[in-house]
Structure formats: C-alpha cells, structure tokens
C-alpha cells in the first residue's frame, strides 16, 4: 500500500509517460505495475514477446522459469533471444534482452523446469502467473498450484496456425468456494487433456512466428490490465465483475490462414463457463493440496500420458 502513494522517480516518469497518459492508467495504474510481481513460465515463443511488453510496461518484479537452452530453430519466433546466445539458458538470454530494454525492474531467473516439487515455492513469490509453456502436464500443474495459492492465471497456447488465450482464476477465490459465481480454473474449462497421439507440439507440428507472437503479446496485454486496474482484487461488492468478462471468461481463438488475408473468422471470442462445482481442483469436494502435489499426487505425467518426461518444462 505504501508503494502506491509514493512519487514516481524522474526516470520512471519519463520512461512510462506515454502509457501513463492513457485514460484509465495514470500514476495509480503505473504504481500498481511497479509494485507487482509477475511470473512468466516459459521463455519461448509465447514468453519472449510477453516478457518484452511486461518489462517495457514497468512491472516491478519479473520472474522467468525455463530449463531449456536457446537453439537456432527457436529464433524465427523467440524474438527475445539472439544467435550469439545459442546454447545459453533461455531464462538468462531473455533477461539479458529485457535488461537492455528496461533495467528498472528486478529480474529473477529460475533456470530449470517447473515441477510438482518446486512449483508452489516459485509461484508463491508472485502476484500473477503467465502460462507460456508448451505441454499439457505443466499447464495442469500450473493451474492447480494457482488455485491453491490464489493466483490469477493468464494462459495462452499456440501451434502451427492457431492460437488460444484465456484469463483464468481471476479474481481468485479459495478452493471449494462454490456458493456464488466465481472464475473458472484451467481444469474447469479443459477437463481432460487430449490423448497423447492427438497432441502436437511446436517442434513436431511447426509454428508460424506471428501466430505465437500475437498470443504472447495479448497475454502481456491481459496481465497488464489485471495488475494496473487491480482486476484480480475482489471488489467489496461483486456487482460490476460480470461485465469484466472474468467470471465467465472469453476463450480467444486466433486462426491464421496462409491462403487469405485477415478476415471475419480470424478471431473468435468463445464464452466459457464459471467455476464448476465438481472441478477436481477448485470444486467443493476437491482433495487437491500443495503437499499432495509436491509428493506426486496427482501424477501429471500419467494424467497426460506423456511418454517421455523430458518435455516437462
């Protein structure tokens, strides 16, 4: 609270002036960003553009999780890396780029994959989580931990010529609360993962850079509005929230067509349901706990039947 009443430094004022004069932002929105802590999980095709705009906007503390190293085949879409940094940990490569863009935020490197064992320790340090990962097991893990730690989640995904974006668990309410309308978690919207054979990753199926780029930038846009306008903070009276597209959130789908220009069906906004009473993670009889997750229950790899665990980012 203290941080929201201080003056901006001259540096901050000059750097953020063009977004502070946007109606609705102002000094208050800027200070909210500066006082926020965002975790970006995945420093790839989604995480790179997302991180550029999160850092540019002046989010005060930015954590990035990724265990991979930069490869040349990443660089057509992972625009926060560089040819000279091939072989470097993606987290360190991306932070190097972000520091060059804006050295005011604190950058925290988590240069390893998110696992059931470390997820809660990492996520608990932040106010908002951005799922920029590339596999279903990690997506379910992130959502479950966000439910248990009451963190809003901005989730995006992209393969080939398609992209998807949704804001989940925002504003977050405790697990098991079902006596009203609440925002859904990832499991409420996506109950079961697809069987392994039907899934395709960017490595196998390919990905167009601007498609995953659009989704990453859009994710940054959603995270910035949540933090700057405190949409993740439950208001005293719940009245206004339904109009905010949060309790029954929109799943945005982007379809890129190499054969035609942008058209009427390039973007579609799909209305999803709210929190499900019988949701495995957030529903009223959920037995999900942080201790359970850490101890291997549920088994995310098995749930998603991923044959090899080496993509568990």
């Amino acid at each position: 609270q203290n941080g929201l009443s201080r003056r901006l430094t001259d540096d901050e004022f000059e750097r953020y002036s063009r977004q502070m004069i946007v109606p609705g932002m102002g000094k208050e929105g800027q200070l909210r960003l500066i006082n926020s802590r965002v975790l970006i999980i995945g420093a790839g095709g989604l995480g790179c553009p997302a991180a550029q705009y999160i850092a540019g906007a002046g989010v005060g503390t930015i954590g990035i999780v990724d265990g991979d190293v930069v490869e040349v085949s990443n660089l057509h879409r992972q625009v926060g890396h560089a040819t000279s940094r091939i072989g470097m940990k993606k987290v360190d490569s991306l932070i190097q780029h972000l520091r060059g863009l804006n050295d005011l935020p604190a950058y925290i490197s988590h240069p390893f994959h998110l696992t059931p064992h470390n997820a809660a320790d990492i996520i608990s340090q932040y106010d908002l989580v951005m799922d920029c990962t590339d596999n279903p097991a990690t997506r379910y893990l992130i959502s479950d931990v966000c439910v248990l730690l009451c963190k809003p989640l901005v989730s995006a995904a992209s393969v080939q010529k398609s992209g998807q974006l949704i804001v989940l668990n925002c504003p977050p309410v405790p697990q098991g609360l079902v006596d009203g309308k609440y925002a859904p978690c990832y499991r409420c919207c996506f109950k079961k993962p697809p069987p392994p054979g039907s899934m395709v990753s960017c490595g196998e199926a390919g990905i167009m850079g601007p498609v995953v780029g659009m989704m990453g930038v859009a994710q940054a846009g959603e995270a910035i509005k949540i933090l700057a306008s405190a949409l993740h903070v439950q208001s005293e009276n719940n009245e206004s929230t339904p109009e905010r597209n949060l309790l029954q959130p929109t799943l945005l789908i982007y379809t890129y067509d190499l054969e035609s220009a942008v058209g009427p069906y390039s973007f579609r906004a799909l209305k999803m349901g709210g929190r499900r009473k019988n949701c495995f993670a957030c529903g009223e009889n959920s037995t999900l706990t942080l201790e359970g997750i850490r101890a291997g229950n549920p088994n995310y790899e098995q749930f998603c039947s991923v044959p090899t665990p080496n993509h568990s980012l």
């Binding site: 995480g47 596999n135 393969v159 398609s162 993962p193 697809p194 989704m215 069906y265 349901g273 499900r276």
Partner: protein
C-alpha cells in the same frame, strides 16, 4: 452457405478449428442440412450431429481423433453459437435452425 431447407432437415453451419479442419477436407466452415430427427424419431441433438459428421462429413479415416468411445474425444471443445456447450446441456442440446456449432481442438504448444 445455402439456406435451402425443408421440414425434414435443419440448416446449420459447422466449424472446425485448432487443427480439426484437417479431418474435414481442410475446410473450416461447412454448411450442413442435418436430418431434423434421428432414426428413432427424436429431435436431432449435438450427440446425433457428432455421429452424423463422422459418417457423412469426415474425409479422414482417423475417426478417433474426433470421437473416442462414442463421445467427443478429450481435448476438443464444443461451442454452440460461440458458447461452451456445458452452458447449453452438452450432448443433449437439441439443434436449432441456423445454429453454429464449433469444434476446437485445445492447444498446448507455445
């Protein structure tokens, strides 16, 4: 989108997204004249539509990428006029003329 209709069929549009269009002739939008009632005379539901699509519209032999154990396979969202079908009664929803039914494969890459 042809709008020719008679009492025995229901004109709808069916869309595929997120890669599912590959199973349906690589075409994202289809105009479908769905029989208004199933073999037993009950009004056509989404469940009936899914079965109808497998038998009449799918060009790809890999049916199990669309249907598993007689239900839509996990990882596919069904949207009725752009709303999640859970809001509308899922498989039991009775198809209305000019409905738009969208099948989206959920994505996990990034």
């Amino acid at each position: 989108m042809s709008d020719v209709t008679d009492a025995t069929t229901v004109p709808i549009t069916v869309d595929f997204s997120g890669g599912l269009e590959m199973l349906f002739d690589n075409q994202r939008r289809h105009s479908v004249s769905l029989p208004a009632v199933d073999n037993e005379g009950r009004p056509a539901t989404i469940g009936f539509l899914i079965d109808y699509l497998c038998k009449n519209l799918m060009k790809d032999p890999r049916v199990d990428l669309f249907v598993l154990d007689k239900h839509i396979r996990p990882g596919i969202l069904v949207l009725i006029n752009d709303a999640d079908w859970e809001l509308e009664g899922e498989e039991a929803y009775e198809i209305q003329p000019h409905d738009n039914i969208l099948f989206v494969s959920t994505l996990h890459g990034g």
